[in-house]
């Protein structure tokens, strides 16, 4: 363990290796997080079945310290968006994301979660979860094979490794605002679009005047 943790340039006497490591706080912190990223137990569609297959014995997620899937967002570190995000479901997904404690990560698993996938043109389909949540890793495929999912998770681990407590967005002075929950109106309404609605209404009014 210390081999991996040890910062370069510090010579540890052979008899103390495996017991002592000289390292940075970032490294220690990332090392701990990297091997205990608990995914949220949260299946949306077909991709979720491949996620279950990945958790089972043949592919075995526990090799990455990720076998503990938590049904509660409060105990989860990674949100695996595994399937088609529909307009009817997206308010709940955003709410779940807001309930997860930081540090938190989002993986878009499959074509649907990444960009709408085969059902993109559907009237009830959101064109990718990144329209609402910040996504860290995209995994292509329909569905991604378990191997692809594992590769994506390893990429996430690599990403965690490079982060620093000083710069990550959740340890800054200002509070991180929650993501506004979309509203189900005549169609899906993103509260962040409210200003744009006013612009559009003004434009329409102008046009009506010109026509008169």
């Amino acid at each position: 363990m210390s081999e991996e943790l040890n910062a370069k340039g510090y010579e540890i006497p052979p008899e103390m290796r495996n017991m002592v490591a000289v390292t940075t706080l970032d490294k220690l912190y990332n090392w701990g997080r990297r091997y205990s990223a608990w995914p949220m137990m949260f299946g949306l569609a077909c991709c979720a079945i491949e996620m279950i297959a990945t958790a089972a014995s043949r592919f075995d997620l526990s090799r990455f310290g990720m076998e503990i899937m938590r049904p509660s967002p409060r105990q989860a570190d990674v949100m695996l968006v595994s399937g088609t995000v529909t307009k009817k479901m997206v308010p709940q997904i955003v709410r779940l994301y807001n309930q997860m404690p930081e540090p938190k990560y989002v993986i878009a698993m499959g074509a649907c979660a990444s960009g709408g996938g085969p059902f993109k043109e559907g009237y009830n389909v959101v064109s990718g979860i990144d329209k609402f949540l910040p996504v860290d890793v995209y995994i292509p495929g329909c569905p991604p094979t378990p191997q692809a999912l594992l590769y994506g998770l390893m990429k996430l681990q690599e990403m965690m490794e490079k982060q620093s407590i000083k710069t990550v967005r959740w340890y800054q002075k200002e509070d991180l605002p929650a993501i506004p929950v979309p509203i189900l109106g005549p169609d899906l309404i993103d509260p962040r679009d409210f200003p744009e609605f006013q612009v559009k209404l003004a434009q329409a009014a102008d046009q009506a005047q010109v026509e008169e």
């Binding site: 089972a56 043109e121 389909v125």
Partner: protein
């Protein structure tokens, strides 16, 4: 159930000299019933003619003629072909009497037709939207309703082919998202409909008899759509007295992916991979249902070669095994045996998926069937692998599963006598598949209305008689064994030869008309209703999804049971949300 004094079918016109006529359009079949005679007609069908099982209800928007048509497919629970009847009403004022009073199974399907097509069913006890949310603008399956990313009526879109101009649909939408609002819509001047009304409607009436102190209060509990035991994004709202379920209402649509709207823009061939994603645990049987419907329209042009027929049976039965072991695994999950039985189930599943991957190129989304055959022949080595599985490993492993679970005390204590559905109820609610057969109705489409080459195989229809969760589990186990039997015969007899008739084509033209293809999917009768107008795209494409219709009886099954049992009752129905919500 059927009795012996039934009137023969060809007497229908004699029995109803008025208000009922033969559907004379070319390529169509069945009867057209006047809206005001519908309830009477359906009652007679059920009681006098023996058509006691209403399989499918759906609507078709005949925009050019300005008509809205509701199509019903009824069967006898003793077997045989369909009786189709239709009601035609003007599009602008589409009101049809509800058949919920005659066939309870029409409940959700009528709600769906209201939601998506805007057909009002008069007399329906609870006519709300079911797949979309209350307050959504418009009825999306109407032919003149256009989605936000609308480009053209039919695929392939000219811009893509042969135009070759590829762009992101977002870039052309004013909000950069898949949304469209009514003109002059101002969200700040608008109040959401909210869920209060919904919960309020469920909160039951006080049971106390006037004495304030003795009143019991019912509690409304919401499970889902994010809940570890709802098998995906499904939601149940239960109103409870103590721990006992007084009423339960399923809420779905959280995975409504607009399968039918997309399917009506697609060409016929493009739809096959979409059917994979309906019941994503059983892609091969979905393929079969769809190609069967189209083959019915194509007629002799799509004669399936012998070898392909066998390959179809082999793949469909493997799919059934995959599905049932998975269903058993998840049922045990719901019982609290978290993930260990699932690991056993998934082990077998992986081995079968390896075969699918070798044959079709994909583990889950096989896209293997074609009109008039199958896509690929078996690669070398796969036949031996299949033999090994079917003759050696699977029978042993299923016995093992049986040994571990069936006599387990906790399994029995929790499952026996829970979620009971009587045979009469099961038929009335149009339940299908293992749910129907566990209630003592030996109805299996493979036997009742054989398709493909199922009439050649020797197998039993699994049936049990208590109609509870335990029997549904047992029926699945029995069915796996029967599937293994069929597989053994099919593998022994598998002939050499062609696997598809004619040359594979990208775009086929299908003669005008309607067709209803149905197969016995692992979850029950899976039907595809297709209306062709003679062009390269279906005019109407509807899926009769067993997961969806089996849920109609969920509320009934849960009434009076404990709330913890509602979870396993749901588990025993075995739903897949991709198919429920489509």
């Amino acid at each position: 159930m059927a009795d012996t004094t039934l009137i023969a079918e060809n007497d229908i016109l004699a029995r109803f000299p008025e208000g009922v006529s033969q559907d004379e359009r070319k390529g169509y079949q069945g009867y057209i019933v006047a809206a005001d005679r519908l309830v009477e007609f359906a009652t007679a069908l059920r009681d006098e003619f023996g058509y006691d099982y209403l399989s499918s209800v759906t609507g078709v928007d005949y925009l050019p003629e300005g008509k809205m048509e509701v199509v019903y497919h009824a069967y006898k629970s003793t077997g045989g072909g369909a009786l189709v009847f239709k009601v035609q009403v003007p599009r602008e004022d589409a009101v049809v009497p509800s058949l919920v009073g005659v066939y309870k199974g029409a409940d959700f399907q009528e709600r769906e037709a209201w939601d998506l097509l805007g057909i009002r069913f008069e007399g329906h006890p609870n006519l709300k939207r079911i797949l979309m949310w209350e307050g959504f603008a418009g009825h999306p399956l109407r032919k003149d309703w256009k989605e936000a990313y609308f480009e053209e009526e039919k695929k392939p879109f000219d811009s893509r082919w042969p135009g070759g101009d590829v762009y992101r649909a977002e870039d052309k939408n004013p909000f950069g998202k898949n949304v469209v609002y009514p003109e002059k819509f101002d969200p700040e001047k608008w109040t959401p409909v909210g869920e209060e009304g919904f919960y309020g409607g469920l909160r039951g009436f006080d049971a106390g008899d006037g004495d304030e102190d003795l009143k019991t209060e019912q509690v409304v509990v919401n499970l889902g759509p994010q809940h570890p035991s709802t098998h995906g994004v499904f939601r149940m709202v239960v109103s409870l007295e103590g721990e006992t379920v007084v009423r339960l209402e399923p809420v779905m649509g959280y995975l409504h992916r607009n399968h039918e709207k997309i399917g009506e823009r697609n060409t016929y061939l493009m739809n096959i991979p979409f059917t994979d994603r309906l019941d994503y645990l059983a892609s091969m049987s979905n393929n079969w249902g769809y190609v069967q419907a189209v083959e019915k329209l194509l007629g002799d042009k799509a004669k399936v070669p012998e070898r392909a027929e066998y390959l179809r049976v082999i793949m469909a039965e493997f799919t059934r095994i995959v599905n049932h072991v998975f269903a058993i695994g998840t049922l045990l999950n719901d019982l609290g045996a978290f993930f260990t039985p699932m690991l056993y189930a998934l082990e077998e599943r992986e081995l079968i998926l390896d075969i699918f991957e070798a044959v079709a190129g994909s583990r889950m989304m096989c896209n293997y069937f074609r009109f008039g055959g199958v896509a690929r022949d078996l690669p070398p080595g796969v036949y031996e692998k299949m033999r090994d599985l079917v003759f050696e490993r699977l029978p042993r492993k299923i016995d093992e599963l049986d040994r571990y679970l069936t006599e387990n005390e906790i399994v029995r204590a929790r499952c026996e006598g829970v979620g009971v559905l009587t045979p009469e109820e099961a038929i009335a609610y149009s339940a299908a598949g293992p749910v129907l057969r566990a209630s003592g109705v030996p109805y299996d489409v493979r036997r009742a209305d054989p398709y493909g080459i199922y009439d050649r195989f020797d197998f039993d229809v699994a049936v049990r008689y208590h109609g509870d969760v335990y029997d549904r589990y047992l029926v699945r186990l029995d069915e796996i064994r029967q599937s293994i039997r069929i597989l053994q015969q099919a593998l022994d007899d598998l002939p050499e030869g062609e696997i598809i008739s004619g040359k594979p084509k990208y775009s086929i033209r299908v003669p005008a008309g309607e067709a209803y293809g149905r197969v016995e999917g692992p979850k029950g009768e899976l039907g595809f209703y297709i209306v062709s107008d003679g062009s390269a795209n279906p005019w109407r494409y509807h899926v009769r999804a067993p997961s969806f219709i089996n849920l109609t009886a969920l509320g009934k099954m849960c009434e009076g049971d404990k709330v913890a049992d509602a979870i396993i009752i749901l588990g025993s129905i075995d739903i897949v949300l991709g198919e429920t919500d489509r």
